[in-house]
Symmetry: C2
DNA sequence: TTAATTAGAGACAACAAGAGTCTTTGATAT
DNA sequence: ATATCAAAGACTCTTGTTGTCTCTAATTAA
């Protein structure tokens, strides 16, 4: 069990976008180049992020993408849900006797896990990256 | 993203086995019947649980399966790892600039999630199931 | 208004993994 | 010996992921 590659690409893209000045946009070509991906494939991922309201898109010349929300408000879980949908970790389709009981226990564990992901902010990664880069300059 | 059906079957099987008296064994046929599965398919799952040391198998007449460890020592994560292997939720294959940093952040989130699953004991579910059954008898 | 540039949408193919079956082998109690 | 059980592995089928290609729609600049 692992998250899809698309989710990883999305997480990385969010980091790139966050490191951009708030006003400027960046195109798919450039973002795809950074991750060694085809622009068409990455655009599918970006569209999902756009529909989830995490980033904004501008078509036309000088168009591109930028972060939509307040940077400090975007968590891992936001990005994961945007790409994978609101899936259940445990999909208990087996109903026998006390089936619901088992399902409930699994759902509880799932909830606790999601809280962890919701507390992990993308902006923290960006901050760490920038600190590391700053150290390098010194 | 979700755990495989096999993991769900394994979790359910563990519950069934735990509700058995410590000394007695149960065969694949009966376990498969409980979950409406084919015995051959379930046996593949049971073999994984055996290799992981969570259950014990006895071949031959009067053979079958039973819990191997102390019941209170088996967590969700034990079962999940037995079936899915020790997989990583986030598989960061994209290396660019501060790639390692992003990967580390993801790994940290992953660790926190796994702690949750490791704290969720199968025996708790069994206890709840038995309490529910006891109430029904009254 | 036209041309260039950008995102969006959807069809499509290739590949990988999951789910499940079948058959054969090997161990054990009676 | 024989019936009964688990173990192992080859095999198929289905599903989902990954990725490409093409066409459309919107926006800016000239």
């Amino acid at each position: 069990m692992k998250y899809s590659n698309a989710t990883n690409y999305a997480l990385h893209t969010m980091v790139h976008l966050m490191r951009l000045p708030q006003t400027s946009t960046i195109g798919v070509q450039e973002l795809a180049e950074m991750q060694k991906l085809s622009p068409t494939y990455l655009s599918k991922i970006l569209t999902k992020l756009t529909k989830a309201g995490l980033i904004e898109s501008m078509t036309g010349v000088k168009g591109g993408y930028k972060i939509a929300r307040l940077k400090s408000r975007i968590s891992f879980l936001d990005v994961i849900n945007a790409i994978e949908g609101d899936t259940h970790l445990f999909d208990c389709s087996i109903h026998h006797g006390e089936g619901c009981l088992i399902e409930n226990a699994m759902r509880q564990a799932e909830e606790n896990m999601k809280v962890e992901l919701d507390n992990t902010l993308i902006s923290d990664i960006v901050a760490m990256a920038e600190t590391a880069q700053h150290r390098k300059r010194i």
